[in-house]
Symmetry: D2
Subunit: 491 residues, 4 copies
């Protein structure tokens, strides 16, 4: 029996971790908002719930449009884009956070504030781990919050700064803020980009042929507008771009960087380049590592589409087992906003994925997926594969067990919902009912991303891997206040 | 410079041939319309412009809903689906035809007619080649047409039949009709399926666990609702399903069948089964044939996503050259309805595809695509690949040159717009500016689809391959009247 | 307690008889559809549910737009009106009929048919009393109906006529049709107007300064576009307007005319002119008659707004009792489409009307209303007046008791719902709980409309007054088949 | 020729002064928001552009909905009203101000602020004359404004107050504010109402049968929900309603009151009661005074509908000249938001008003209107009346010449656009081209509203009549800063 309202959800994606945001900004081009729309379209995988653009022109001042839904369904109409004139614009795409009860347009960024020296808009990727304490303090002092977003703290802190120019106010504000943030901001004349001292979330600088500058979460969004990739904004760096010049500032105390290793595994697009490496190549290399770490005799290496594809190609290449599309993805799935029950979530995978029965029948199949979160989708896929007549099913996972929630801008279930938080690898294998289940080791992952031949430097890890290790580089203050327990020495 | 309204089109798909319709029907289940919605969702690749569902319940009679846009964006709301009660329903998805000036909701099927013995609804996949002559005759006799669709002739012919039951009227009507048709129809008590004598378009029969029956363009839509694949409706067969029984009739004179070979190449979903073969496997085999027919030294086999992927996997496997994702497709592209200019069409590929630059750089790349229609997209892709630093670019095409328009339910450009209609393979290679360009031979294609080891039986071809060969199994009467020239003996 | 969803209905209007349609057409002006939109806006009181316009231009052919809701909310957008080019256009506004289960856009006129000699569109005001018999016959012969409207018969009869030009086909068709009809139609070159032989519904001819011609249900719609009133189309007349010429035809056998007397009482706008008399003046005169027929001592003459106003002015003038606005109407009520329960209908008057308490308190009040249908509103108004402290309440009704349904294009409740069908005047007074209740006499009404000093000619009444007298000038064949009982000699 | 897009405006109303807001609040009833919707519907004449409702329930907290358009078109859907649960709710309707460039939903009230002791919402009728100075100061200190509304100052002043409960913060805030304000506010447990010390705008208290309390701009909105009128909130009074008790506070220094005299003339609904008098009766009395002050021989007294009607009734009664509806108003006009040109505004009256030609022809007509603002509509009406064949046209205006803009919450054109600011009565008569033109005298108006038999007390006027006299009871500080010149001794 199909569900009564069959498409109320997006079953496969619902069982993934989700990047919560993408940011993009352009200065120095005619109709900057059109470039931002294109950039956000290329960053849509970082946030599908809503998007917003703010632009500025001397004649029309600041203008803003915020919409639920895909960039292509909103920021494509002539009539809307004409309301966003000017040579300077920033934008934001966001994913809805699991806990929020009903999305509201007032939570959609960029956020805007009018100060005595002029207006500013900010777009934030990441998560402020002391946002609730800051919000309480600001309300106590008379600030009125318009959204439930942690990011709104930044603009209120800027409003209250005594500095006389906006970049300086932004430095003031961001020094009060803890957690992960890559921020793109704009004033009437400046495009500003900042990464937190650990550099948890990405942010890159690009340049257009005719002199404009671009800030973007990922390089794939530079490609779409034909911008040249200049460099990554460095952890703890602020760039202020104006009059064709890029000024670099260092508002924070220097620290060892902790880039999110999951950006390599899943969040970033495979055609983006991080740390000088193609994300696709890194993922393929994860497949190679996995084939070395956890080989198995089989007839077919089959990706769970689409995120498992590069690792499956690597696994097949390294193992010599033929690669094939055993699971076909429906191209016409969208994203909807109604929260499905656990039961419907199980049922729903079939709406998006179908088994290529003729290929699978009688074969020993290796399924390569990027991660296991709740395990609900994995279980369903295994059932579909067995129903189609597979002889054996082996799962190979391109990341270590996800045992801890992320508090730095990723939508993760509560810890107890994470399969790996409550089960060992063996228990998971049994729970999923597969012939074998193997995750790449943490060291294997570090090798694949090119950190070091030795793998992870346990005394000072080269990346933030809190979701695997439980080692949080920034203490999640708000969450601890709410009762979250950090990893104990015993664990 | 990005285009002013950046997403007004769908650049890659615009340079493909397009199946114009998918049909689906269910009898014998509660809330049949929900099953139809799921089935149409699985058939969405056969028509993205619009969809419609008609249902019947004894209490509420016939109800109908027709909408522009994707199935998942319309036939998902509780309030809409509640208007379609009953245990019997049929549905249709359609693609807009190139020539039509503006889409109108009245052109969206199913079409409905109230006769003295009760109502009937029909959904038609294919094209009636003598529709214009029939329409003139029917108007002369007092019929009032509501749409510009060729399919509407069928319901008017049924209305005028002197037969006293609806299936018999349908036989009457379809014997007047020439061309290609797979029709799913319903009365108050019967679900009916028919294929034209040549069996140009597909139609399959499925069965649900609890006794319901299903008719569908493809088997992939049986999978989504958990129906078992029973068999294909045979060319020239009519099935009348009622009271849990499937009655088979043969209203037409028997003829050798001419199934559309392009369904194997591109139209059908890879997880569908046609003639007992997985479409995916056929496409992979085309890649194998192509690697044998047209080998080349290279470093990377790279599909043009997504339709070129199975053939590329086959090519890589046969040739031993590594397979890799050199081109990344943006998952968030949709379909829009504004007709782009040729110039914008060239520019627009970048909105959907991006090159995986790090993978491509310095490599000799074999690009595997399913077909070349106008050639505009192929040229653009070649440029992107070269810009990214490829050393050589070799095109391998999984179908023979498309040199003739289809008149049997496929949206093709006029003959003079088809690259292969005006250029030899060599001229095309030069026009596209690639290092080599090879199409699979017609015999190779026939081998890959499993027709015969010898390939095509030229005295009586096993398939309709008019788009490649110019040999039309049914004379396109309306088009000839409008001036279309059939292939001459000299050609 | 207010109702849960407070505005789901339109309480006062719900207890009125309702004209079902207004028609309008223009030929010989640039952008004829704009004129039609204005005309329909002026005729909105004749039908608020939906409206439609068809236009023709040689370049663009026939175009059509049909919408639910007010004219001003639809036919006002540049983008819509630009789709209706040409110098010839017709339009229609309609009221929903009580019995229809859910309105459908396919029931909205004008109806269009493509014939072998070209297309035609028709807009019909009235009701065809043998429509169901005709529909059965047409379906039997192979016509496919698109709507549930009686008016669609006309276009199918035209389609099947053997005449070679469209006006002749229309004559053929209308000679088959019984009942009341004022039709405006168009071909590619002609604007056509017809009234049934009895002339039950109005239709007038106007002329624009620059040579264009206009057909309209009422003269008030000529005023809005600055057209000069030429004359009424006569009962049984067809006018064919083309090339600046008005040709008059007589397709029907001559009969004594039977114009609807309720057009004078309520349906027509007070600023329209019928039979050479201002409707406002006629209504004022009804008030004068009423004051003579049914005087009463009182302090205040108060209209039930807005339809009772002219008669109240006449009553006050004749009686010498001061006129005052004791009931204030909320200007912001609209029309909605949800069917209210009888209970909610009672409650709802207060949403539209409020008592001017300070004026009413302690006074003997004469309330002048145009008619009593179900009596629900009258009762509620009486209660509001008494709650506000009136000393006495006297109802004076500007029409005789409405005891019979209309079958000629007016939405009336079933006979048993009409208060006057089941109660004598005295019983009604008691039921309403007022100090006195008087209806104008049938003779008084005939005097007021200027028919004759003697009143009604009972042997051959000058008007159709079936709703008062039960004497139907055309036998309502379909209704009789369904069980409706005509007045017996005993009644 | 009709205008190209015929309904882009509302010609008659465009030439009136407009009240900018209505406010309404309820405490102590189930589903308070439904009551507020009804109340706002009854207050729709005070603001047609947009409306908003905030409700509070302990389970769901504060909820808010703000919409453009009529109350009945928005706050009627079950699904919307279900989002506004609770026993406490306030609402607001607003008119767009002439100067604002494009309406934004963020300008629609109520405004909401979350403070450390809980949330509060406010709805404001009136205008703060020092809002711009306050806004500058608040921004300087770090407040971020969300709207362009003057009313937002109040909530920011409250946020910054050091008082520990919300009513006390409101007192703090309102003591900083100059101008006219009637405010309805709510906390989680209290409904609050305040009028400024002069009591420029109205605010009344009502009581529901089952113990709930109501605050409303006018008494007519008490009637619709069946609430009993208790009393007016006094100038300078704050009422805090909670737990079934009404506490009265006096936060401001006492001053002589200055109620807006134009509320009597035009803004308030005729069925409301102000200062113990029916507004209808006051307007009728103005007509009586006018007939005494400015008699003229004529055949017909005719109101300019609908606002001139009560005065016309009074004029006819006092003069003995028959009253008649010489101008008929189209009931189906709505309000649209596109700004018409002066030229179109002239043309457009005909869309809303039509002359009752048969009544007017050959008569000497007295037209009674409530006011003359720009004079554009008056001129057009005069033309229509003369075109219809009137022998003479005499204008009688139920207010003195409007020569000064209002800065206390009324939308008035700039001073130079007011006809009376630049012309004497004689020049106006000539400009309008009428046979005579007379305004009621200021003393006559004061007599009619019942202020005193002697009329206006010039040393301390009993009302605010700044729009007539140029004597502003509160200095319009922001406007003076922008260059507005107060009346000089010489004027």
């Amino acid at each position: 029996m199909p569900p009564a309202h069959p498409f109320d959800f997006d079953a496969v994606d619902a069982d993934k971790l989700h990047e919560e945001c993408g940011v993009f900004g352009v200065i120095g081009v005619t109709d900057a908002a059109n470039f931002v729309a294109l950039g956000l379209h290329a960053l849509q995988h970082r946030g599908q719930e809503a998007g917003g653009i703010v632009s500025y022109s001397p004649e029309d001042g600041f203008n803003s449009a915020r919409r639920f839904g895909y960039v292509r369904d909103n920021f494509t109409s002539v009539s809307l884009m004409e309301t966003l004139p000017g040579a300077l614009a920033i934008g934001h795409v966001r994913y809805s956070t699991a806990g929020s009860k009903g999305a509201a347009i007032r939570d959609v960024q960029p956020f805007f504030g009018e100060f005595s020296m002029g207006g500013a808009a900010i777009a934030h990727n990441g998560n402020i781990t002391n946002a609730e304490a800051l919000r309480r303090e600001l309300i106590e002092r008379g600030s009125i919050f318009q959204s439930s977003s942690d990011s709104e703290c930044i603009i209120h802190l800027m409003a209250r700064s005594l500095q006389r120019d906006i970049p300086a106010r932004m430095e003031d504000a961001l020094r009060r803020v803890e957690g992960a943030f890559s921020v793109v901001a704009m004033t009437r004349t400046k495009l500003i980009g900042v990464r937190d001292p650990l550099g948890v979330r990405p942010l890159v600088l690009g340049k257009l042929a005719d002199g404009g500058y671009v800030l973007s979460s990922e390089t794939c969004a530079l490609d779409i507008i034909g911008a040249e990739f200049v460099r990554e904004i460095e952890p703890g760096e602020m760039v202020v771009i104006s009059g064709g010049k890029v000024e670099s500032r260092r508002p924070f105390r220097a620290q060892p960087s902790k880039f999110c290793i999951f950006e390599h595994v899943y969040f970033s697009r495979p055609d983006s380049i991080i740390g000088g490496r193609s994300v696709y190549e890194t993922r393929r290399q994860i497949g190679v590592e996995l084939a070395r770490e956890a080989p198995v005799e089989a007839d077919l290496v089959c990706p769970v589409p689409d995120s498992g594809t590069p690792a499956a190609i690597g696994f097949a290449h390294e193992s010599g087992i033929p690669y094939g599309m055993g699971i076909i993805r429906n191209q016409y799935m969208g994203r909807t906003f109604i929260e499905p029950t656990e039961q419907i979530r199980n049922m729903g995978v079939r709406l998006k994925l179908n088994v290529n029965r003729a290929l699978i029948r009688g074969k020993r199949v290796i399924l390569v997926d990027d991660s296991v979160v709740r395990g609900t989708t994995s279980r369903k896929i295994k059932e579909m594969i067995l129903d189609a007549g597979a002889a054996e099913v082996h799962f190979r996972i391109a990341s270590p067990p996800t045992a801890w929630p992320c508090f730095y801008g990723v939508d993760t279930p509560q810890r107890e919902k994470l399969l790996a938080a409550t089960m060992s690898e063996d228990e998971m294998r049994e729970h999923l009912g597969v012939d074998s289940l193997k995750f790449i080791s943490l060291d294997g992952l570090y090798r694949a991303v090119g950190a070091s031949e030795q793998g992870r430097n346990n005394s000072c890890p080269q990346y933030c891997d809190a979701c695997f290790s439980g080692e949080y580089p920034v203490e999640p203050a708000d969450m601890i206040e709410k009762g979250f327990k950090l990893k104990t020495a015993a664990e």
